[in-house]
C-alpha cells in the first residue's frame, strides 16, 4: 500500500474527478531516509517539514509533504460538499479545482515581478527556497501554501489544512456565489460573544479546560485579535490569511503553546450554531394577527383609505416585480428553467415543488424568487406612496405605525383568502409574465 507521503490526491481531468497519483521519487526518498512503510504521523510530518525548510534546495521532502496534505485537503472539500449539496447546487469538481491543484510538478512557475520588464514566467525547482521568494498570495499550488504557512509546533497538519481550505480565496468566492460564507476559525472566535462561547462550551465543548478558563482565554483572544489583525493588514496589505502565531499565542491569558484550545472553542461554537441559522424561517411573514389587536380597530369606515392601500400595493407591486422579472428575463434563453420557475410560482406552487419540476435544489428557487424581501420592499414603497395622501399623513410622526403598516401590507401581499386562491403577489407576477 502506498505511503500517504508518496500518493498525491489530484484532479484527474479524464475522469473529471479526483484521482490518486503515485510519486515514485517520493517513495525512493522515503526508502533512502528509512521512512518507508511509515504511516502518517505528527512526528514524520514535522521531520519532513524541517527537512524541507532547512535543506532549502531539496525538493523531495517537500514533495512528500505535498502528497501528505493533498488528502486532508480533499477530505475537507468532500465534507463541505456533502454537508451543503442538498440545499445548494455545489459542484464537487469545481470546488476541488480551487484547492486541489497540485499535480506533483517538480518545477515552480514564478510569475514576473513588477520590476521585470520581460513579463515572462520563470521556472525554478519546487523547493522551499524558491517558494519563499514568492509573494504569499501567489504561492501555487495550494498545498504548497498550506505547508509553507504550517507550523508543526502549533497545530497538526490535517487541522491546519482544514483551516486553510476554509480561508482559501477561490473557494470562498465559489461559496459566496452560491450564497454561503466560509468563515475562518479566527474570524469566528473574534465575532463570538462571551455568552455564545460559554453556552457553546457548556453544551458542545470537549477538552480539559473549565468554562471559566475558556471564557478568560476567549476574552484575551478578542482583545489581542483586533490589534494583531490591524498590524497584519498594514504589513501585508491583505485581509485574508491571518492566523495566530507563537507570539500571539503567548500574549493570551493564559498563554498558549499551540492552537489546540482555540481550535476546540471554534469546534464547540460551530457545533452550537448548527440549527441556529435555520431559524430565519420564522422571519417569514405569516398572515396572523391576534384578536386583541383587531378589537382595537373600528371596522366601520375609511373606504377611501382602503382603496388607497390596495391601489398603492398594486402599483408598487407591478413596478417592482416588473423590474425584477425584466432583469431576470435576460437569463431565460440560457436557462429556461428560470422562466418556468416564475410561471410555476405564479400558479401557486411551493418552493419544493418548483425545485423538483425545474430539476434544481430548493436553494436555487429561494435565490431566484425572493418572496419575502420583494414583498417587504413592495410594502415599504407602498407605505411611502401612501404618505403623500392626507389620510396617511399621520404616519410621518410615528415610527411604530410605519413598522406595523409595512408589516401588514407585506402580510397581505402574500396571504390568501382560502385554499386554492392566489395571493396578490402571485397575481401580479402572473400579470407581469403575461404582458
Amino acid at each position: 500500500m502506498p505511503s500517504p507521503y508518496s500518493e498525491l490526491c489530484c484532479i484527474d481531468s479524464f475522469k473529471k474527478g479526483v484521482g490518486k497519483k503515485f510519486i515514485e521519487s517520493c517513495e525512493t526518498f522515503l526508502k533512502e531516509k528509512n521512512f518507508e512503510g511509515k504511516s502518517e504521523s505528527k512526528e514524520l510530518d514535522k521531520e519532513l517539514w524541517l527537512k524541507s525548510k532547512n535543506e532549502k534546495d531539496s525538493i523531495e521532502s517537500l514533495l512528500c509533504l505535498r502528497c501528505r496534505v493533498s488528502k486532508p485537503i480533499q477530505e475537507k472539500v468532500n465534507t463541505l460538499f456533502f454537508k451543503y449539496r442538498s440545499k445548494y447546487e455545489l459542484d464537487l469538481l469545481s470546488m476541488m479545482v480551487c484547492v486541489l491543484d497540485d499535480s506533483g510538478e517538480l518545477f515552480l512557475r514564478i510569475p514576473p515581478s513588477q520590476k521585470d520588464k520581460t513579463l515572462q514566467y520563470t521556472t525554478k525547482p519546487f523547493s522551499w527556497e524558491n517558494i519563499s521568494t514568492m509573494p504569499r498570495n501567489e504561492i501555487r499550488p495550494f498545498g504548497a501554501e498550506v505547508i509553507f504557512t504550517f507550523n508543526p509546533s502549533l497545530s497538526k497538519i490535517d487541522t491546519w489544512a482544514s483551516h486553510q481550505v476554509k480561508s482559501n480565496a477561490e473557494l470562498k468566492a465559489y461559496f459566496r456565489s452560491y450564497g454561503l460564507l466560509l468563515i475562518s476559525p479566527w474570524a469566528l472566535l473574534a465575532d463570538s460573544s462571551s455568552f455564545r462561547v460559554k453556552e457553546a462550551w457548556l453544551r458542545c465543548g470537549s477538552g480539559n479546560l473549565s468554562t471559566n478558563e475558556i471564557e478568560a482565554l476567549h476574552r484575551s483572544y478578542k482583545i489581542n485579535y483586533k490589534e494583531a489583525k490591524r498590524e497584519y493588514k498594514n504589513k501585508t496589505g491583505k485581509i485574508l490569511g491571518w492566523a495566530p502565531d507563537s507570539e500571539f499565542l503567548c500574549s493570551l491569558t493564559p498563554p498558549q503553546k499551540d492552537l489546540k484550545n482555540l481550535e476546540l472553542i471554534d469546534t464547540a461554537i460551530r457545533n452550537y450554531l448548527v440549527g441556529k441559522n435555520t431559524s430565519d424561517a420564522f422571519i417569514e411573514i405569516e398572515p396572523v394577527l391576534d384578536r386583541d389587536f383587531i378589537a382595537e380597530n373600528d371596522r366601520d369606515s375609511k373606504e377611501k383609505q382602503l382603496e388607497l392601500i390596495y391601489d398603492s400595493l398594486r402599483r408598487y407591486g407591478q413596478l417592482i416585480l416588473e423590474d425584477t422579472i425584466d432583469k431576470d428575463r435576460s437569463k431565460w434563453d440560457k436557462d429556461p428553467s428560470r422562466k418556468i420557475a416564475w410561471e410555476l410560482y405564479g400558479k401557486g406552487l411551493g418552493q419544493r415543488e418548483i425545485a423538483s419540476r425545474c430539476n434544481h435544489k430548493q436553494g436555487w428557487v429561494s435565490k431566484l424568487i425572493q418572496e419575502k424581501s420583494l414583498a417587504e420592499n413592495i410594502a415599504q414603497e407602498a407605505t411611502v406612496g401612501l404618505v403623500s395622501f392626507k389620510e396617511f399623513q399621520c404616519l410621518r410622526k410615528d415610527p411604530e405605525a410605519i413598522d406595523r403598516t409595512t408589516e401588514l401590507l407585506a402580510s397581505y401581499l402574500i396571504s390568501i383568502k382560502s385554499e386554492g386562491d392566489l395571493s396578490l403577489f402571485r397575481q401580479i407576477i402572473n400579470e407581469v409574465l403575461n404582458k
Binding site: 460551530r270 405569516e286 410605519i402
Partner: protein, 403 residues
Amino acid sequence: MTNNNQGNSAMEAFPIPEGSVLLQANKLSSFREFSINALKQILRERNLTLPLGPESGVKESKCLINLNRFSIQVLTTGITSDEISIPLDNWYKPGGAPQILLAAKIDEENSVVYFSGVLTGPEFKKLVKHRLKNQKEISLPITEFKGGIDRLLGFVRILESTAIPRDSLDRETSSPWPWDGFSKRFKPAFAIPVFTAAAFILGPSIFRPRLVGNIASISLSQVEVQTYTRGIASASPVQACLLTPSFSIDDSRSIPIAETSIDQPIIFSPDPLNEITISKNGKILWSQNGTLDKRIEGLISWPIKPIQAGEQYLLTIRPKGTSMGESANIILKTPSEESIQKLEDLVMDLGDNKSKWIKAINQQLKKDINIALALLFSEKAPQSKILNQAREKVLDRDGCSSN
C-alpha cells in the same frame, strides 16, 4: 461540559442572509467603510437620491452620519457575531444623541455586508435603561436590531425629522431619564386610522385566527401494537397513536420512523398509556410506568438531554388496554445532520412577542408539526388567549382508542 465529539455536524459554512449587499471592492477597507459603501450601493440600486453625509463620516468611526436629515449611528460587527458594541460618546452630548442606530454585520474576507436592522433612539434607551454605569460603550444582542435596511429607509423617507427625538443619556445610572415623559409623547397615537383601514381591508383574509383551526387539522400518527403474547384469536389489533412526534410508516420497514428537526420534541399520545420508554442502542435511557389507578396522560416534555444531529432513539409506547409484551416501537431520528434546531434558540429568537409566536407556530404547523407543538407548549411562550385555546385543542384531541 459534555464530552461528545460532534465534528461531523459542525457549522462549516454560513448562509448569506437574504438582503445582504455583496460588494465588489476587494481593497483594504475598515468595517465602517464597508458599511457606508454598502449603504450607498443600496441607495443607488433603489434609485433613492437621499442626501448622505458628511464625507468624513465614511472613515471616522465615531462620527454620526446624516441620511435625509436623520442623525444615524452606524454600528459594525462581524458577520457571524451575536452581539454588537455601541460607543456611547455621542449619547452623553445634550441634544446630540443619534436618532437611529443602524447595525451592520460585515464579512470583510468575502466583502459581504448585512444590515441587521435599526433601533430608534428611544428604543435603545429603553433597552439600556438599567445597565448604565457611566461606561464608554455598551453591548447589545444583535437580534435587538429589527427590520433590516428597509426599516431605516422607511423611517428616513417617511418620518418627519423631529419624529424621533435626540434625547441624550444621563451618565449616572440612578438618575432618572426623561424616558417616562418621552414615552408618553412617543405612543403611537397617530397609528389608529392607518390600522383601522388596514385591518378592515385586510381583515377578512388576514386577521382570521387560524391557529386553532390548523391545530385541529393535525392528523394522528397510528401504528399497530405488536403482540407477542396474545393468541391468534385475539380481538382486532390495538392501535397506538401519537400527535407528536409524528411518524410515517414505510411498508419496507417494520418500525415506523419519526423524524424530528427539533432537539427537544414533546411526546403526546391522546390515549392514556401504560408505559413509555426511550432507549438508545438497546439501552433504556428513560421510562415511565402508569398504574391501574393512574395512567400516563397528557404531554411529556422531552425528558432526556437534547437530541443531537445524527442521533437515533427508540420510542416504545404501551397504550392502555395492552398487556406486558405488547407495545409499539417508533424510531425517533433527525432528518439530516444539518437541520436539527435547538428549541432554546427558537424560543430566544421569538422573545416575548405574542404575534411572532403565533406566526411561528402557525408556519411550523405547515412545515414541521413537532417544532410547532414544542413551541406551543414551551414554558417560555408568552401569555396569549389564542395560544391557550390552541393548547386546549391539542389536549382535547381524541385518540385512536375512541375510533
